[in-house]
């Protein structure tokens, strides 16, 4: 089970157990040393008290208590070396090799002996190690016993402590559970422990970005639906006109009407998608080196037929190659919309000039036409999406300049509207920094 509280509980209780065992072991070791000293001293005392006894015909009274309690064996040899007394007859220990304290092995057990020679008699007092070990063990046990008694209480306490500590985390989890894509309310950031606060702050930041992206998406869909209503209504009516056409001439006219209606709806869809791709919130696309003069030439070739049909002189001039690093689709949409607008609003017989050049810092795209121009008071609003100039008969969908604006913005460029030659017509000058994305990455698009 992967649970923080269980893990913490297991770790803490495990550590506690190990600590208790270590404490027990160290007590045992320390106790053994002390018990040894104590028992050795006892042996010595006993031997000394036996030395003062004159005869060993009877059992030495002083020894009897020890014998019972601690398996003490007393042996006495006379000066001839004959064993004259042994307290336990079936267990005659070998005589120690030298006087004083000594550890000997007898019948596969360790014994502690004390040997004393006095007036020809040799007195040996012996005791197995077993009682000493038992006593040390009991000491150790007594040390750790209380720990084992409070173990369940401690476990319970730890459990509650862990639960209490993790409560802010549980609360955050509950808060996140209640969220849905449609309601991304920020989580409360008050009274949070320092460990969780960064997590919540980061989550809130992401939620904010996410809900903004959702809003933009929703707005886009609503706008698109709204804007598509008009051309679709026209198409519906045009189909009806076609159905009701009586003569061949009427039918041809009605078909032409229908074709225009469908073209318009298709163009609107294309422009909406182009707008969605260049909007500030749209994800960045891989950057490429784009030759602006070649791009302008391509676009002009595409639009030459339409210009020629309207009797407009469309041309380009470039002094040498001009390239920037940027998003190819956005740059294409930008130039294409400018040229398209210029052709759309210029009267037959007019001129549209596209110039691409560069200075030390920026590439410059300059589109001038001989159309009606845009009066200064409208030069800001024309960039709004779906803004259509009053009285303009050319049926645009009001997105062209919005697309241009966003595309320029994506490349960190500037855009300027002015008059073309002799104060007539419109001139659009766009400057794109030669290395636009140095600045974009510095702005840190897409990350906080």
């Amino acid at each position: 089970m992967n649970s923080i509280s269980r893990r913490l509980l297991a770790l803490l209780l495990g550590a506690l157990t190990v600590a208790a065992l270590l404490a027990g072991a160290s007590t045992y070791l320390k106790a053994r040393v002390e018990v040894n000293e104590l028992f050795d001293y006892q042996l010595l005392q006993m031997a000394l008290s036996l030395r003062d006894q004159k005869s060993f015909e009877q059992r030495p009274t002083a020894a009897s208590d020890y014998e019972k309690e601690d398996d003490v064996t007393i042996q006495v040899w006379n000066s001839a070396g004959a064993l004259i007394y042994v307290s336990i007859h079936d267990a005659p220990l070998p005589r120690a090799t030298h006087a004083g304290l000594q550890t000997v092995i007898f019948r596969n057990a360790e014994w502690r002996t004390f040997l004393l020679t006095d007036q020809g008699r040799t007195i040996q007092v012996s005791q197995p190690f077993k009682p000493r070990q038992e006593m040390s063990f009991i000491f150790a046990l007594r040390t750790i016993m209380p720990l084992f008694f409070i173990f369940p209480a401690l476990a319970l306490t730890i459990w509650f402590a862990v639960r209490y500590t993790l409560k802010p985390l549980t609360k955050v989890a509950d808060g996140v559970t209640r969220l849905s894509p449609s309601s991304l309310e920020p989580l409360p950031e008050t009274n949070l422990p320092a460990e969780i606060l960064p997590l919540v702050q980061r989550l809130n930041f992401l939620f904010e970005q996410l809900s903004r992206a959702f809003d933009i998406q929703k707005r886009f869909v609503a706008d698109a639906a709204h804007e598509l209503r008009t051309p679709l209504t026209a198409v519906k009516l045009q189909v009806r006109i076609l159905e009701r056409s009586a003569s061949e001439d009427e039918r041809i006219e009605a078909l032409e009407r229908l074709r225009l209606g469908v073209d318009r709806a298709a163009r609107l869809v294309g422009q909406l998608l182009a707008l969605a791709r260049v909007e500030p919130e749209a994800p960045p696309v891989p950057l490429m080196e784009v030759s602006l003069n070649r791009l302008a030439e391509e676009i002009i070739v595409e639009q030459t037929r339409i210009a020629a049909e309207k009797g407009i002189n469309l041309g380009t001039s470039a002094d040498g190659p001009v390239s920037v690093v940027g998003e190819p689709d956005a740059l294409r949409a930008m130039i294409s919309n400018l040229v398209d607008n210029a052709i759309r609003y210029t009267l037959p017989g007019g001129t549209v000039d596209v110039t691409v050049r560069q200075n030390e810092l920026a590439a410059i795209i300059d589109v001038a036409d001989t159309g009606p121009g845009i009066p200064p008071e409208e030069r800001v609003r024309v960039f709004d999406r779906f803004y259509r100039r009053q009285g303009s008969d050319a049926a645009g969908c009001g997105l062209g300049l919005a697309i241009v604006k966003y595309a320029v913005k994506r490349h960190g460029g500037t855009i300027m509207l002015g008059e073309a030659a002799e104060g007539k017509g419109l001139r659009v000058i766009i400057e794109i920094p030669l290395h636009p994305f140095n600045s974009r990455h510095a702005q840190g698009q897409g990350s906080p």
């Binding site: 209504t233 026209a234 519906k236 009516l237 045009q238 009407r257 259509r388």
Partner: protein, 220 residues
Amino acid sequence: MRLLLVEDDPMLGDSVQCVLQQESFAVDWARDGEEAELALNAFLYDCVLLDLGLPGKNGLDLLHDLRKRKSSMPVIILTARDAVSDRVAGLDSGADDYLVKPFDPDELTARIRALLRRRDGRVEPLITFGTLTLNPATHELYCQGRPIRLSLREFSLISLLLERPGATVSREQLEERLYGWNEEVESNAIGVHIHNLRKKLGHDLIRTVRGVGYMVIENP
């Protein structure tokens, strides 16, 4: 029946006008608020089709002003705004009906007919007069159950005359209600249509009131 279409979108305006003309309506098309205001002051239309998002003068303001002048001209709002609040605002501003784009051409004409019916105080969708039965929805005229083929103009003309039987309608009134702004009217056009109608329906139905105009009366 003469309608005023107020629509700023050139393509949509053209299509609506064309569809309604095919349905034998005379349609004047105003492309902005000011033009619409001039037209409304100049002529009494049978119905107004009003777009809301207009340059110049807003459609709702136009409607407010129209109703302030106590005009009871039927008004249908044609708009892309489909929120309930927009519909409510439109209807409460004095519109008689509200149609959301993209609408069906049949629905549009059906609603226009319904409004005209209500204006004339009729309950029946068919107009009957003596042995004549006229169906405005299908542009069919029956005489004693026998279908009679009429041109669109002839149909419009007999519909106008049957609107108020027994009342005299002048030639100018008929011209005004049969022809839109850009339609050429020849000086004797009404006379020609009346002549054709008489050939098809009998000479007694439409009486000429000399020096005034025409009226329909029931055969004695």
